[in-house]
């Protein structure tokens, strides 16, 4: 693959992560525990949809032809989506959504900070915007981790279950494959495998402060980058793409 094909692939992966996670967040709209949180979750969903658009737009300029941001979002099926599994898991209860978001954002922060140093100007610029949002997300997530972890017995129980259920999906955040390796070698993308220790330290600290236990089980689910998803993604895409698929090729 040429560099630009590799970069496009990387950008699509990042776009997929952001779109799918943004979709799950947007499912909370009008369903949050209280109005301020409805606003906040919708706002975070919007950040992720915005991030998806930036990555897809860049991928579209690299691949050329008729592709635009919507081509990536609306005309690929589940086997072609390359998001990490953690992003697609059904939203679950509020504890699950908060834990997923924290575990992901705590990764996204150092990741975007590293990507800001990319030799690719466009990726660096997207990362800079994402990094600003992520700082706010992490602060918000951390507050919730503490409040719900150290809240009531029920909230603690729900949080611990969510952490345990999610833990095996975090390993995939730090996987590196041939696409990554080629880009890492050229200083275009950071080596995520090197971010794991820092992430684990941050996360362990928050989990401890939240009166929760670090999950011990060392199972790991992976496959998202190769389009091997959980069965939930197909349903998500059926919904997300329904209008475009029913009326293909139109402007909206």
């Amino acid at each position: 693959m040429t560099d630009s094909a590799l970069i496009a692939k990387f950008a699509v992966r990042q776009g997929d992560d952001a779109l799918v996670l943004g979709h799950r967040l947007s499912e909370w709209t009008s369903r949050s525990p209280f109005l301020e949180e409805d606003l906040a979750l919708t706002n975070v969903a919007l950040d992720f949809v915005g991030r998806a658009r930036m990555f897809y737009q860049y991928a579209a300029t690299l691949t050329g032809g008729d592709a635009n941001e919507d081509t990536f979002a609306y005309t690929r099926d589940a086997r072609e989506f390359s998001n990490l599994l953690i992003c697609e898991l059904p939203r679950g209860d509020f504890a699950f959504t908060i834990c997923r978001q924290y575990l992901y954002d705590a990764f996204a922060l150092p990741f975007m900070q590293a990507l800001m140093k990319s030799s690719d100007q466009q990726l660096a610029a997207i990362a800079a915007k994402a990094e600003k949002e992520t700082k706010y997300h992490v602060r918000r997530d951390t507050d919730w981790m503490l409040r719900l972890g150290d809240g009531t017995e029920e909230s603690q129980g729900r949080m611990q279950k969510a952490l345990d259920d999610l833990w095996g999906y975090t390993g995939e955040l730090f996987d590196v494959d041939d696409v990554d390796r080629a880009l890492i070698a050229e200083g275009i993308v950071p080596d995520v495998s090197l971010l794991r220790d820092q992430w684990l330290e941050t996360v362990s600290d928050t989990i401890a402060r939240a009166n929760l236990e670090l999950p011990q089980a060392d199972w790991k689910a992976a496959g998202g980058r190769d389009g091997i998803h959980t069965e939930s993604l197909g349903f998500l895409l059926a919904e997300l793409q329904s209008v475009q698929r029913a009326y293909p090729g139109l402007k909206w």
């Binding site: 709209t29 525990p33 941001e69 409040r147 029920e154 209008v243 139109l250």
Partner: protein
């Protein structure tokens, strides 16, 4: 007891004199109980409308047909949640708590804009809601920017600024559809067919039949009559519809040269009353949806209180 009445009268006169002089009433000012109650009713109803209004539109966020539209819709619904917050806060300055207002909603005592009891069935409905419903809201809200209660008037000013974006975005969806395939045009026409009359009803009953109107006008909680606002909206919406090739689903619609306004057909007040009374297509779903979210979130709110209590205990112990 007698004494209270005697004392109250000069206050009421003074209060009305301030209103008449276009002074703003502020939370700590004296006000008649009826003024307070009426305002709480009106503002909480307005707040509930913003919040329940998230549902028909939220219904299409996950299915928006382009990422740009998805982002715009998310931002819009987020604004609505924000408007709900302004309005609850403004109502709280009058001593009503949010919990009480939400309880009144769940018990069916408090209303919300009856238009949100219609289902959003196609993507074009998102256009129609933004265009017709938000423009109707703006016409009403602009008139409330100089309502007599200060916090309410200030909330209206903030809200109006954002609503005008929404209205334009909704109209833009309709324009794009009318510029598209035959299917898209049909979808747009179908949407105006279904939303036109409910939007007309948003302004409420005719002036003569409006329960709260006369006193509200005197108190300047309301600034313009229902029929007046409705006429203004019709005049602008009809022109916008025609500009992009949409037909208005009203056989009686004609330009009245003499009045300088559109005449329009009779409104189906039976339907209006039925929907207001709880028997619209989605009343049950809307309330059940709001109640479920509230109930599902109970443990979260409890955890927050518990956490805060622990923190306070720790900091006072330290």
């Amino acid at each position: 007891m007698m004494n209270d009445n005697v004392v109250a009268l000069p206050d009421e006169h003074k209060f009305q004199a301030r209103i008449d002089a276009e002074e703003k009433i502020e939370p700590k000012d004296w006000m008649p109980e009826g003024y307070r109650k009426n305002l709480i009713r009106q503002m909480s109803q307005h707040a509930h409308s913003e919040v329940v209004g998230e549902q028909p539109e939220g219904n299409w966020i996950t299915r928006a047909p382009s990422l740009e539209r998805k982002a715009i819709l998310l931002a819009k619904v987020q604004d609505e949640a924000g408007h709900g917050l302004y309005l609850y806060s403004a109502a709280e300055t009058l001593g009503a708590t949010r919990d009480e207002m939400i309880e009144a909603l769940h018990e069916g005592k408090a209303k919300y804009a009856s238009i949100f009891n219609y289902p959003s069935l196609t993507w074009a409905d998102i256009g129609a809601i933004g265009w017709l419903v938000d423009s109707a809201a703006i016409v009403n809200q602009v008139s409330l920017q100089n309502t007599s209660y200060g916090p309410y008037a200030r909330a209206m000013i903030r809200i109006c600024k954002e609503e005008s974006f929404h209205q334009r975005q909704g109209y833009h969806i309709m324009m794009t559809l009318m510029d598209g395939s035959d299917e898209q045009k049909a979808m747009a026409q179908d949407a105006i067919n279904r939303w036109w009359w409910p939007a007309m009803m948003m302004f409420g009953p005719h002036d003569g039949e409006s329960a709260h109107s006369a006193q509200s006008m005197k108190w300047k909680i309301k600034r313009r009559s229902n029929d007046d606002l409705r006429q203004q909206w019709v005049d602008q919406a009809v022109q916008q519809a025609h500009a992009i090739g949409l037909e208005v689903p009203d056989d009686d619609l004609t330009w009245n040269e003499e009045r300088g306004h559109y005449d329009f057909g009779p409104i189906d007040w039976d339907e209006f009353n039925r929907v207001i009374a709880g028997d619209g297509p989605c009343n049950r779903q809307r309330l059940a949806h709001h109640k479920k979210a509230h109930d599902d979130g109970a443990w979260v709110r409890e955890a927050m209180s518990a956490y805060d209590a622990k923190r306070r205990a720790k900091s006072s112990a330290a």
